[in-house]
């Protein structure tokens, strides 16, 4: 009985995790510029990983694998902010530097840029992402 329950619970968690992974991927494709795409990638880093590893932990039961999964989760939670910070910082130090403006001005600017050079920024964002990961 309890086995069956654990089985279904872990299946549900894995399914939810997959859904959030997909959400992150769709967000990376849909969002307009580099920085907002990074937020979408954050979904896969945190909640999706958490759900999938929790699901696997329920399947593993009380064994060595449980502790290993817990360690994996811990390490991911410590390293993923570092990685996204490095990505953001390398963007900040390059062409995609954020201007020091207030929120409203920034929004206006973003809207203008989006309407005029949507195609261009798309291309340069792609290039920046590959650069960032290499750095």
């Amino acid at each position: 009985m309890i086995d069956l329950l654990l089985h279904y619970a872990s299946g549900l968690l894995l399914l939810l995790g997959c859904f959030f992974m997909l959400t992150g991927a769709v967000g990376v494709l849909r969002f307009p510029d580099f920085y907002s795409r990074m937020h979408a990638a954050g979904v896969t880093d945190t909640l999706a990983t958490f759900l999938i590893i929790s699901g696997l932990m329920l399947t593993a039961g009380w064994s060595l694998a449980l502790f290993k999964l817990a360690l994996i989760m811990l390490f991911i939670f410590f390293t993923s902010p570092t990685a996204s910070h490095a990505l953001a910082r390398s963007a900040q130090l390059s062409d995609l530097r954020l201007a020091q403006v207030s929120a409203e001005e920034n929004l206006d600017e973003a809207l203008q840029a989006q309407s005029s050079t949507a195609q261009d920024s798309e291309l340069s964002t792609e290039a920046e992402i590959t650069d960032g990961t290499r750095a």
């Binding site: 967000g27 907002s36 954050g42 945190t46 910070h85």
Partner: protein, 181 residues
């Protein structure tokens, strides 16, 4: 010396959970490698309060549980932004309607390095906000929606970290010494 013992305990735990082989020979190798790592860490002078914040031993888990709730909530918000208007209306309109990316320098009153690291790390860990740059008294934050930025500016997270780290620094030594690792 306390920090060395705690580092030993942490490393031994990691080694034991990752090994799975408990014959005397392998255990000896494990012990040797742990001692080697401690030797290197001591030579690098990184075995101190910043790398092993033992004074947070009791309070940090509570903070992380609060942060986990925060992470789940903001994850759902970002997911809503992603799926918002995907199946209705044209692309270009819905994109600008659901999200409003903005960035701002948020002043912070945290002074200790540990507090700042925790703060920036927590900001980046919650999807929707990323800490890009940090200097002596402010954090440059980029947010997916202006609401997220406003919420951060209200400073609940900062307050919690302030209670966690800076309060302890004043009463650190007397409170920290009787605690065991």
């Amino acid at each position: 010396m306390r920090y060395t013992f705690c580092l030993f305990a942490v490393l031994a735990f990691i080694w034991l959970t990752n090994s799975g082989h408990y014959t005397p020979l392998i255990l000896t190798f494990g012990l040797a490698s742990i001692l080697f790592v401690i030797l290197i860490a001591r030579r690098m002078k990184v075995v101190d309060q910043d790398s092993l914040p033992l004074q947070l031993w009791t309070t940090l888990p509570g903070y992380y549980i609060w942060l986990l709730r925060k992470i789940i909530a903001s994850n759902l918000e970002v997911a809503a932004c992603v799926w918002d208007g995907l199946f209705s209306g044209s692309f270009s309109q819905t994109k600008s309607a659901s999200i409003s990316p903005c960035s701002e320098r948020i002043p912070t009153s945290l002074r200790s390095d540990l507090g700042k690291v925790l703060y920036a790390n927590s900001i980046t860990l919650t999807p929707g906000t990323v800490a890009i740059d940090i200097d002596s008294d402010s954090v440059l934050v980029h947010a997916l929606t202006c609401n997220g930025l406003e919420e951060l500016k209200q400073g609940e997270m900062e307050q919690r970290i302030f209670i966690l780290t800076e309060k302890n620094t004043t009463s650190n030594l007397p409170a920290g010494q009787d605690k065991q690792c």
